[in-house]
Amino acid sequence: MANLVVAVFEILSFGAIVVLVVLGLGVIASMMGIFNFAQGEFVLLGAYVTYLAYSLGLPVWLGMVAAPFVVGALGFVLERLIVRRFYAAPIVAMLGTYALGLIIREVVRTLIGGLYRSVPEPIAGSLDVGTMHFSSWRLAIVIITALVMVGSYLLLSHTTFGLRIRASLENPSLARASGISTSAIYGATFAFGAALAGLAGALIVPVFSLFADLGIRFLIQGFVAVMVGGVGSFAGPVAGAGVIGTLSAALPWVISPVVADVLVFVLAIAFIKFRPQGLVSGKGV
């Protein structure tokens, strides 16, 4: 019984981590129709900002609070300078953002000397219930992920800003005719997606340590999650991430980890074959 509770918690917490990482990717893919290959590197930058704050002697939580703002601001600048030139050509956008990601990754690699750097958790240790141990920070991640998810949902579904984003996605020309500056909205959406990635990076860096390839590790998983969940809505990618995250953490409990790794992708491909629109079809929130 105790074993089962621990297993459920561990699987849930990894699922939450994947959801957190995919949120930003999903927002940009669904709300803008852009597959941002630099998303992993935004996660990496969030992690780096946190590490930087820590290495300067500042408290870790301060770095975590700063990370989404710093990465969001950078996302805004990159959208203005580069990404907006690609809206007409989604394939080129993939290559362009991939190049951006490559540049960010190698710069960070140089900055940290190609090594692994550990960052302590703001809430260290584990919660002990009888013989069971729960990592406090993983618990915190589960809670923060839930809050961010609800917050993002409310922002997109219940605010004027969210309405404008959805309007620009659904019918850009009508949105423009109604006096919505779609270019400003795209900039803000991209920055928002980048900020979510920055936050994800900041929160997961104590768990996985900082290293230059931190972002790529999640990128493929993230895109599979978006595909399984369905592009076009906010709920789709989140649901997809939940499924992929829990599946890839749960399968190694029952079968050989090497097989499990492949099986997640096989299951995802089979699922998409029979339900190409994904778990959640249609546009909207």
């Binding site: 074993n3 621990v6 297993a7 561990e10 699987i11 990894f14 690699r109 000397g113 190609g114 090594l115 692994y116 750097r117 550990s118 302590p120 240790g125 584990s126 002990d128 141990h133 990592s135 768990v207 996985f208 340590s209 290293f211 230059a212 390839d213 931190l214 590790r217 890839s248 953490a249 190694p252 409990w253 050989s256 980890p257 090497v258 790794d261």
Partner: protein, 406 residues
């Protein structure tokens, strides 16, 4: 970082400028370090280094290139080899086998080097060895700790083998940890081959292997593994999971109370570079067995001298550490120097024949000597344990440990 930048001197600027201009002249990924004196009669001896200057293990490749620069400078300052200076050719293998083969070919065909030292991963060694040894007709030194079984003629290995890393270490682990072993491993050649050997030693020493399991190289969640370790009451985790997975794995183990309950972590590639992956408390008591640790400096004057020279010439992030092949590089070049001196010429067969029984009295961690006919190197081995973010040496091999290869 800022401290280093403020130390810019004219000499250093000129040095770097010269370095940058040769990089431009020879193409991206190639560097030539020319001696500052020449022999009127004969051209310099050409030493080729092919290592991963860029890519995920760039930290190790850069350290190896630094060591090569240091040793070559030392030899040149002492009058060179056979009265000729050494010229160093460095090529980037870029952590990418197909790029590497092309660049190593440049060393062989364009630069016509007398020796190639390098390659860090086993897959890299396998990719470039044929280019160097068979088609290139050149000597090859492989400096990294590895899984053994490399018996190609003209290929000399100067890093530790499984026998050297296990024979004394595993009995120590049983005494200082317990009998129940778990072998969590990354799914590639080194862990597979090392585990076969480790299992034999564990069983011969009275221990037992509770489970041996392989994971994809990029797996970063180990909750099911941690659960197996805890619920099977494993005493010793003999880890061959590599970065990036190893950090989260050790963290999850410590959060699950493995260390608190007296469990012993062990990992034979852990050196000063990998200490930073986790918080010190998460790997407290982790045991490693290598040919050198920085902690040897107070007790071994020869190691202290090498470490001090390295730190003086290359302050910064690239550490002189055993797990990144830096010690094997040092040993390899010095053994080759001894072999060339004995042979009195650079002919491949003559140097190889002398290399076969070459010895050095001083090296990182102690003396080293080649085992005749094996093309592997006997060296001293040390067992160190992580304490508060540093290593403490707890056991030393009585003499030079046999590689037991070929």
């Amino acid at each position: 970082m800022s401290k280093q930048n403020s130390n810019w001197s004219r000499r250093r600027f000129l040095g770097n400028f010269a370095f940058a201009s040769t990089a431009l002249a020879t193409g991206v990924g190639s560097w030539v370090v020319s001696p500052d004196w020449a022999n009127a009669a004969e051209a310099p001896i050409k030493v080729g280094i092919a290592t991963d200057l860029t890519g995920p293990i760039g930290y190790a490749g850069n350290a190896d290139a630094n060591v090569a620069k240091m040793v070559v400078k030392e030899i040149n300052d002492a009058g060179g080899l056979l009265g000729r200076p050494l010229e160093l050719f460095i090529e980037d293998t870029a952590s990418n086998e197909s790029v590497a083969v092309g660049n190593v070919r440049k060393l062989i065909q364009r630069d016509k080097v007398d020796l190639v030292l390098g390659g860090i991963t086993s897959s890299m060694r396998n990719a470039i060895k044929d280019v160097i040894v068979a088609r290139g007709k050149t000597l090859y030194i492989y400096p990294q700790l590895y899984e053994g079984k490399e018996c190609t003629p003209y290929l000399f290995c100067t890093g530790p083998t499984p026998a050297q890393q296990c024979d004394e270490f595993i009995p120590w682990l049983i005494k200082n940890g317990g009998k129940r072993f778990a072998l969590p491993s990354a799914n590639y050649v080194w862990p597979h081959t090392l585990n076969v050997y480790a299992r034999k030693v564990i069983e011969a020493s009275g221990g037992e292997v509770i489970f041996e399991e392989y994971y994809p190289l990029d797996q970063i969640d180990f909750s099911s593994t941690v659960n197996r370790v805890i619920s099977n009451k494993v005493d010793v985790v003999f880890n061959t999971v590599i970065p990036p997975g190893v950090g989260p794995f050790f963290k999850q183990l410590s959060e699950a109370g493995f260390l608190k309950n007296g469990g012993r972590l062990s990992c034979v590639y852990y050196d000063e570079n990998t200490l930073n992956i986790n918080q010190p408390a998460e790997i407290e008591g982790l045991a490693s067995c290598l040919d050198y640790f920085k902690a040897l400096v107070p007790e071994d004057p020869a190691s202290a001298k090498i470490q001090a020279a390295y730190d003086k010439q290359f302050p910064g992030t690239f550490l002189f550490a055993a797990g990144s092949a830096a010690t094997g590089t040092y040993r390899g070049l010095k053994l080759w120097e001894a072999a060339v001196k004995e042979a009195g010429k650079l002919d491949r067969d003559a140097v190889a024949a002398a290399f076969d029984h070459a010895k050095i009295a001083e090296g990182p961690g102690g003396p080293a000597e080649m085992v005749p006919g094996q093309r592997h190197c006997k060296m001293k081995m040390y067992t160190a344990v992580a304490k508060g973010g540093n290593y403490e040496i707890l056991a030393r091999s009585a003499g030079l440990v046999d590689p037991k290869e070929c």
